[in-house]
Amino acid sequence: MSLGKDTSRSGTPDVPVTDKRKIAAAGVLLLIPVVALLWVDTYAREDPKLFGFPFFFWYQFMWVFICSAMTWAAYKLTLSARAPRKGDDQ
């Protein structure tokens, strides 16, 4: 169970060096859609309508795209936050 033995076997370091600021930024990006959609009070109303859709519905559909974009941005941020480790493919 010792770390030393493990490292000597594979040459793989433990935890990759991480840019904490980028990880935090990614965390914020991921948190925004969760807060926005759980805060039902902000969007449970009928107006303004869009193409006949009450606000309540088109607003939530809109978040599908925003959330997707934010998750993709968070993905790119986490990739750049961690340098590839020795032994990894990249």
């Binding site: 859609p33 959609l37 859709f53 009450p54 939530q60 993905y75 480790r85």
Partner: protein, 562 residues
């Protein structure tokens, strides 16, 4: 396949063309299911890694189709519009925020679970818990919860197929053999190719399922609104129905847009369901079958496409209100679950209705296959190998898993055919409450060993008992039956909230208090087989290959000297 056809055409009101299309598409996926054993071919399918996880090498697109086909089940396609049709937005449309916030949540923890599972050969979440705490009881609790929660979910896939067959005119016969023959045939065929091809079968069939679903929903959403007077008329009809007073309860029929009293209900249903979904064994199985740490993360950004479609599908429940769809079953009773298939039969030519029926029916086969594989893996890894036959070889494990997948499906079939459909729905409601109680042991443990294993176990037990009791106490105001609602007044707030979340909060409280006590008393928290670096391991980590080559015990961190 000719036998069921002859049975069908003797019934009244059978839509022959739609049935023919349905059967033809079913035959296509049957061939694909058996052919799938050659897909990304392995030397042998006699290990859980190959049979149960497809070799752990699916790329971004295969995983996208597989997870999409897995998470968005036939029952979802039937039940969400049914809920919209019957009681409106709180019961139905919460599925949209649920399946949006789902992805940021799994983005955060799934990469860690993938890495540690890849590094140690874990196939189930119970494997991980076993490795993290060296605790057989906690691992068994997680395994049994997963197993129990999955069973009714499989049964509900059959309910989805039944709804389609009923609208197509099959299933009303008095002869029990004739009535259930199509379902029996469909499930026997599914069981056969799942047995022979393992996870590769649903992976291949998911392509057909998902494409059919996209085509059908997009066509429906483009074509139907103009037929019933446009979206204004649809929302108008829905608002009128939902605000009408129900004669039995004296309350409004349902909710058009959640009022201030329903905010907590809407939010907790969304959050509780999102936290719970990836605790189910079938979601984990599909995630762990992906080929790299980043595959799941990329998918978290791409999978919301399905959520968009689910939202459109939910609104079809309201299109049906505007269209005056009559979801009366072959038994003469109103069954809202028939509303979507009925809508397609009313408005589309028979052949396209057949395509829509096939989309739902095939939509049931993919999750049913993955769920039975996942439940079977849980049984063979965490019950058979852990408790019954400790020295089981990988080949024996795979054999037990394959047999268990048959047993699980047979059980689901018996469940649906012998019990009232409502039982399956009640147990599914309970399953959602139960599975969320495993969240602390699985997800928190990915980050920290601060929580004490005994605290996690007791917290889980308290959450299970409390949630089950509250769900039992929830009386349906119309029928007066137990398990009438997933909602219950939240203690301290008073508004209705999702019972799973209340139970989860109680679970957390118990876990934290006990952890503080047990840590203060210096009670051992077991040994940890994982290391910090394991949670970042990626594909082709040299240590992964080393361990797999040496076939060592998956729960141990280090290979044993032999």
């Amino acid at each position: 396949m000719t036998a069921p056809v002859t049975v069908m055409v003797t019934g009244g009101g059978v839509n022959t063309v739609a049935l023919a299309v349905l059967i033809a598409l079913f035959l296509v996926v049957t061939v694909l299911g058996f052919y799938a054993s050659r897909f990304k071919r392995a030397e042998s399918l006699d290990t859980l890694d190959e049979w149960g996880l497809g070799g752990r090498k699916f790329g971004t697109w295969i995983t996208w189709f597989l997870l999409g086909g897995d998470l968005y089940t036939a029952y979802t396609f039937v039940a969400v519009p049914a809920a919209m049709f019957a009681t409106g937005a709180v019961a139905g449309f919460f599925a949209v925020p649920y399946t949006i916030i789902l992805y940021p949540i799994i983005f955060i923890f799934m990469a860690r679970l993938w890495s540690v599972s890849h590094r140690h050969g874990y196939v189930t979440t119970a494997d991980f818990v076993r490795g993290r705490y060296d605790d057989r009881s906690l691992s068994l609790a997680v395994a049994i919860t997963g197993f129990l929660a999955t069973m009714p979910y499989i049964a509900l896939q059959l309910v989805g197929i039944q709804a389609v067959l009923e609208v197509a005119g099959v299933g009303g016969s008095d002869n029990i053999i004739a009535k259930d023959a199509p379902l029996l045939v469909a499930f026997a065929v599914l069981a056969a190719y799942t047995y022979s091809s393992g996870l590769r079968a649903p992976a291949v069939i998911a392509f057909v399922k998902d494409i059919l679903i996209y085509v059908v929903i997009i066509v429906a959403v483009v074509y139907l609104p103009s037929e019933v007077g446009g979206w204004d008329a649809i929302f108008g009809a829905a608002e009128e129905k939902m605000t009408t007073t129900n004669e039995v309860t004296g309350a409004p029929q349902g909710s058009f847009i959640p009022g201030s009293e329903a905010m907590w209900a809407y939010a907790t249903l969304g959050l509780g369901s999102a936290l719970a979904l990836f605790m189910y064994p079938h979601s984990i199985t599909a995630s762990l079958s992906s080929g790299s740490r980043d595959t799941v993360r990329r998918n978290a950004a791409l999978l919301p496409a399905y959520s968009f479609v689910l939202g459109l599908l939910a609104l079809l429940g309201w299109v049906a209100i505007a269209a005056g769809t009559d979801p009366t079953g072959l038994d003469g009773e109103i069954n809202p679950q028939l509303v979507v298939p009925q809508l397609f039969e009313d408005f589309f030519p028979a052949w396209f209705a057949g395509v829509a029926f096939a989309a739902i029916a095939i939509g049931a086969l993919v999750p049913a296959a993955i769920m039975s594989i996942a439940a079977a893996n849980t049984f063979s890894r965490n019950i058979y190998k852990e408790w019954l036959k400790k020295d089981a070889t990988p080949a024996q494990e795979a054999k037990v898993s394959k047999l268990a997948s048959l047993v699980v499906k047979a059980f689901a079939l018996v469940f649906v055919l012998t019990l009232d459909r409502q039982n399956a729905i009640n147990f599914q409601l309970l399953g959602g409450i139960w599975i969320l109680q495993t969240f602390p042991a699985i997800v928190f443990s990915l980050y920290t060993r601060w929580f004490h294993r005994t605290g996690l176990l007791v917290g889980w037990a308290v959450g299970m008992v409390y949630g089950t009791y509250q769900a039992y106490q929830a009386i349906n105001p119309i029928t007066g039956k137990h398990f009438g609602s997933p909602l219950d007044p939240i203690p301290g707030i008073g508004d209705l909230g999702y019972i799973a979340m209340t139970a989860f909060a109680l679970n957390l409280l118990v876990t934290v208090v006990l952890t503080l006590v047990l840590r203060a008393a210096n009670v051992s928290n077991g040994s940890d087989a994982t290391e910090p670096g394991d949670y970042y391991a990626d594909a082709h980590d040299p240590r992964v290959r080393y361990d797999l080559e040496h076939q060592d015990d998956p729960w141990r961190g280090e290979p044993q000297a032999k």
